[in-house]
Symmetry: C2
């Protein structure tokens, strides 16, 4: 009978393991913690009446982000999707081009390309990082693409492949060195989707600072939140200036005239959201420590549960463990929905990974490479409750 898994037994074991870590109260998948200067800064913001598109918290938040990540420039915007859209536009993505995007990612990664009239070209991930498989991608590009006039052209579609967007999935750094090498060899602009990985580093260097540009998200479910928000990171002064210009309606600076010299966006982060962000960023080191501790606790709790393993950060990386991930064995993959139902039934917030892009109608016809690893992970991955307070409250 070995290899045969009884559904209810595995689900029961998983519930028991989660509860041994998070306790018996209902827990959601992720919620923010406001235990710092949030209230003080919000009050200061209101008192100043600068709640909107100008104000000192936006400047400070951008400076704090640059300082924390080591990026030379940070441009705060309304959300991570807007950040990626603008970064891709600055990378030269335009109607009729293609953008290499992991099949396993939140839909916004692909949508940002579509907003610009571009087509996502889907890439497989590797099981060890959950990020872009640079080796498989190189093989794929060797087969379907060629360099013409210094640009990477998809021989099948005839379109220019302009950019590569590695995603640091659930906060775990992708193989960024491998991706950079592919980008260099195939003349692709590398834009990092670090929406989930604020606080994650690769050999000490912050994710989002390896590419020409990188983007962050501060949505309510992220490690730090501004309500809604995002940022573009770059070391390039010209790109930073262009990003600021495009995200603030491309208005030409003038004492009173409202003249705009490009198709810009109303994407600036409001000051009130930046105020929240400044307070949250002060607590980021503790949040990351807490989330890393939570991983250790899950590791211990699941050590005795057969057919599952807790995903661990790649070698050389320090992950923020934004969303903890449990992987079922191939043999137990058919248990996924049963486990999701059983856990949610008892108010333990779990969820599967995002539906793969090509399994959704709007992206089903996108060009793509073979996606065996993404397909396998989609069937087997379950995110576990990941809020930092699960550890921080317990250690009070």
């Amino acid at each position: 009978m070995s290899g045969v898994v009884t559904e209810s037994v595995l689900a029961r074991q998983i519930i028991q393991a989660i509860r041994s870590v998070v306790g018996s109260d209902p827990v959601v998948l992720h919620e923010p913690r406001f235990a710092g200067n949030e209230w003080a800064y919000l009050k200061e913001c209101l008192d100043s009446t600068y709640v909107s598109s100008v104000g000192r918290f936006v400047d400070r938040f951008e400076a704090d982000l640059a300082s924390y990540t080591g990026a030379r420039y940070a441009v705060a915007v309304v959300n991570g999707t807007a950040a990626l859209q603008v970064a891709l536009r600055l990378a030269g993505v335009q109607p009729g081009t293609e953008v290499l995007i992991p099949a396993l990612t939140f839909v916004a990664t692909a949508a940002a390309a579509v907003y610009l009239g571009a087509t996502p070209h889907l890439v497989d991930c590797e099981a060890g990082t959950l990020g872009v498989d640079a080796y498989a991608l190189r093989d794929h590009l060797r087969r379907i693409a060629e360099i013409r006039d210094g640009q990477c052209v998809n021989r099948v579609t005839g379109r220019v492949i302009k950019a590569l967007v590695p995603v640091h999935t659930f906060g775990h750094p992708a193989d960024i060195e491998g991706a950079l090498a592919v980008a260099r060899d195939f003349r692709l602009v590398l834009v990092e989707d670090a929406a989930e990985s604020l606080g994650s580093t690769v050999y000490g260097r912050h994710t989002g600072t390896f590419g020409v540009m990188g983007i962050l998200s501060f949505n309510g479910n992220k490690t730090v939140t501004t309500g809604g928000g995002g940022a573009i990171l770059t070391n390039d002064a010209t790109l930073a200036k262009r990003a600021k210009h495009l995200t603030t309606t491309a208005r030409v600076p003038h004492r009173w005239a409202f003249t705009h010299d490009d198709i810009g966006y109303n994407y600036r982060m409001p000051n009130i959201n930046a105020a929240l962000g400044c307070a949250q960023l002060e607590q980021l080191p503790q949040f990351v420590d807490a989330k890393r501790q939570l991983f250790e606790r899950y590791l211990t709790a699941f050590a005795g549960v057969p057919h599952v393993c807790v995903f661990r950060e790649p070698v050389g990386c320090r992950s923020n463990y934004w969303l903890q991930a449990l992987l079922l064995d191939e043999a137990a993959a058919n248990e996924r929905d049963g486990v999701l139902a059983a856990t949610n039934d008892v108010a333990l917030g779990t969820r599967p990974t995002w539906t793969l892009l090509h399994h959704m109608v709007p992206y089903q016809d996108c060009p793509k490479m073979e996606l065996p690893v993404a397909e396998s992970l989609e069937k087997r991955l379950i995110n576990l409750p990941s809020s930092p307070h699960l550890v921080m409250a317990a250690s009070r």
Copy 2:
């Protein structure tokens, strides 16, 4: 010598008139006032930890907006530009179509169409409303357009003209009945840009509720603010549902699966911004009263100043007087920049109207009708300090 205006005399008279209304302290063009439940609601929002994409303030803000405006549905989003982009998309605006947009408007009205791959087609305004000149537009369409298969086709460009976007400029209602008649006769979807006119009505009915959809803005410079924010208004249940779906990433409702059935947007208003909005909306009637009082005071103050008049709401309309507008006579138009410089030099926040769309590089090649009134207004219009507290503080 009659008709010859001495620059410094007029500028001095204007400064004196403004100061007689706003006092001698520096004043900006417009700033928000937080004298209600802003702090209480923000604190409640933080304490609940629901600052982001779910939370009771978003639902309440939408209900309050619907109740105040009389629209059956309101969908809160990140800003007015996003609201208009989504409303236009729901109106059927797509790549290769044209959208009728006033030449005299903030650039975002046109940008929203461009984001969808459409081309703005510029329309003149009338001096009595500052909004779309329905008569001149009808004449123009008779000359250049025809109905084919139930659609309005521009014979010159060959493109379908899909929608008409009247703007309620500076809060003053446009000739909405005239615009509706043109829309009906030429098979155009009418989407109202009421970004500036929250609180303004036409024969008692709120602006933004006449078209198939209308949009509002709650940017920091608006009559009420959410930091950054906007909303779509409609009486159509299907459109409201589609708007909510598209602005929340087009996710298919499911207990745990993240599947998206359309190209959606990350445009939902964060709960923390909605909390601010709920408190602001409670004070809207007082804000509008104050701004209307401010108009009366400017009217009195400028009564003795030659070559200028203060713009007054159109007949049958009740305007929120979002931005007060002073109009120089044609004879004094060459004084505009001198007046702007002189007033701003003494810390009185004034500004001209927005540069007309076709005077800006990104829109210079847009199709357009003759624009004599817009051209004239651009040369002669000066917005005056318009904050509600200018009256409210004085009356304490």
